[in-house]
Amino acid sequence: MMNNLLVLPMLLPIIVGVLLIFLRTYGRIQAWISLIAMALTASISGFLLQQVQMDGIIRLDFGGWEPPFGILFVADSFAVLLVLTSSIVTAICLSYALISTSKELQTMYFYPTVLFLIAGVNGSFLTGDLFNLFVCFEVMLLSSYVLLTLGNSKRQLREAIKYVSINIVSSWFFLVALAFLYGAVGTLNMAHLADRVAEVGQTPLLTTISIVFLVVFSLKAGLLLYFWLPGSYSSPPIVTSALFGALLTKVGIYALFRVFSLIFHHQPEITHTIIGIMAALTLIGGSLGAISFNDLRSIAAYNVVVAVGFILVGLAIATPAAIEGSIYYIIHDMVAKALLFLLIGTMITLSGTSKMAGMSGLMKNYPLLGWSFFIAMLSLAGIPPLSGFIGKVLISSAAIDNGSYVLLALSLLSSIFVLYSLLRVFKNCFWGETIVSKEEQLPLRRGVLIPCLVLVGLTILIGLGTESMSPYVSGAAETLVNPSIYIDAILGKIQ
């Protein structure tokens, strides 16, 4: 009975989303209902996290079909931490949408689609079956196609064509990889896969299949194959950008962590080296992109790319400390990227342009906005006591212990580039001559800063509360590093 709760982070958004279809014309009511739904989802996942911490991995066999025959949801600390964070971030983004977006957007199925998106995201985190992961990916992607094109501007449609085609290709690759894997080992249940791959040893054939998976998930995560990302993340309405930047790449990252720590971890000299090289190139490319644009939204989008590279450095090193650092950093990045996008969106609404040249001296008129941006910048650069710090420290020290000095140098340099790119924004847009006089300035819409301030509070809280988070995160890292814990929890009963 108890473990039926496990399906709710996916089920609740779907049901509420469907109900909202019947309330299409009531924009504000939809917003409030979806906010309540996400708050509920967040509290359920908080409760689940507590349960996992006390009793170990929880699983739910759909329809009572035991693994490896049925499909199941598995909650380990890693998955539930991400579900919790993404639910909270979604709730905050929804409250921003409630305050800031136009009525047209609100009544064009915006809220149901966001809820379907989060259902796909949460489902991807929780599923224990590789084919089910594909299905949840598709739920998420279909919603993201809709969200990307909602708003109907020419630029959005152009970017959407690229985004949809690249994702259809990668989904097809995903299916092919699944077919190969099923042909090779005869199962798609993750724990069963891990068990069988360990039994037969990771043969060259299986390693090749794993590299196909690596390509698929890298496309979704924006690891090296991020060419589609800056365009499509910088064209939709800002709330959508914030959701995409905070959540979508994280799902790809999660899949990489899950697959390469649970199933294909026997040949790290091949797979993890490739991941390391890809992460390094992503860091370089993302850093260069972040400092080379004058468009605020492009800068933010390239900051997403840098973070992806940084998180995957942890997987490439793959020591417990590095994995722990990555988990901290994923959580931090969800919060901080949502904050960055929302702040930039507010700046663009206020000044009517997304170019840096069109803004100056915003600090005088909107000091609160300015200091929020300042904190977001420090947090992304990894300055203590904010949330980005602990992840950077753990990954860096793990890189030193492991002798991966190139990765260490690149990840630290990338932090400087992130700091520089945002400092440039801060200097140009907030300092300098105030173009708009006090009388002519656009008033901030009432309450528009509240979601941003909540996120600022969260990033400070995560930074200061690292101590109280550490049991959960180290538990998550332990499960990732020792696949046998996961396998025993799933297959233990029948063996």
Binding site: M1, N3, N4, V7, L11, I14, I15, V18, L19, I21, F22, L60, D61, F62, G63, G64
Partner: protein
Amino acid sequence: MNINDVILKTVSKAVVLIILTFGIYLFFSGHNHPGGGFIGGLVIASAFVLMFLSYDSETVSEALPIDFKKLSGLGVLLAMSSGIAPMFLGGAFLSQSFGYFDLPIFGKTELATVTIFEAGIALTVIGVVVNIILSISEDE
């Protein structure tokens, strides 16, 4: 331009009936044989699409006052409800059960909760397919 579509209209009147019957047959046969909610739904949707093709959309909408967007939502709700109900009865999400009942006329009949789930899927498929076709054809 006014093409003479008497033949199309007359034939589709008869064919729609056959397709609908076949769709419902497929839906029920899916329990133990090839078929099921998805395929049955597709076939039924094709009957609707044929109606929209041979008659204009106003005539059909008048005869069939259904909002297909809401129909698909209703389908999802129905399918989900058959998954959620067992959660309140102590089973796992999506648990199904079945039993044999003596019904008048039909005699001994197997009734399974999975049919509710399949009905939801069929409604969703009908709603989505017809909605897609209508949205494309409404292009101005």
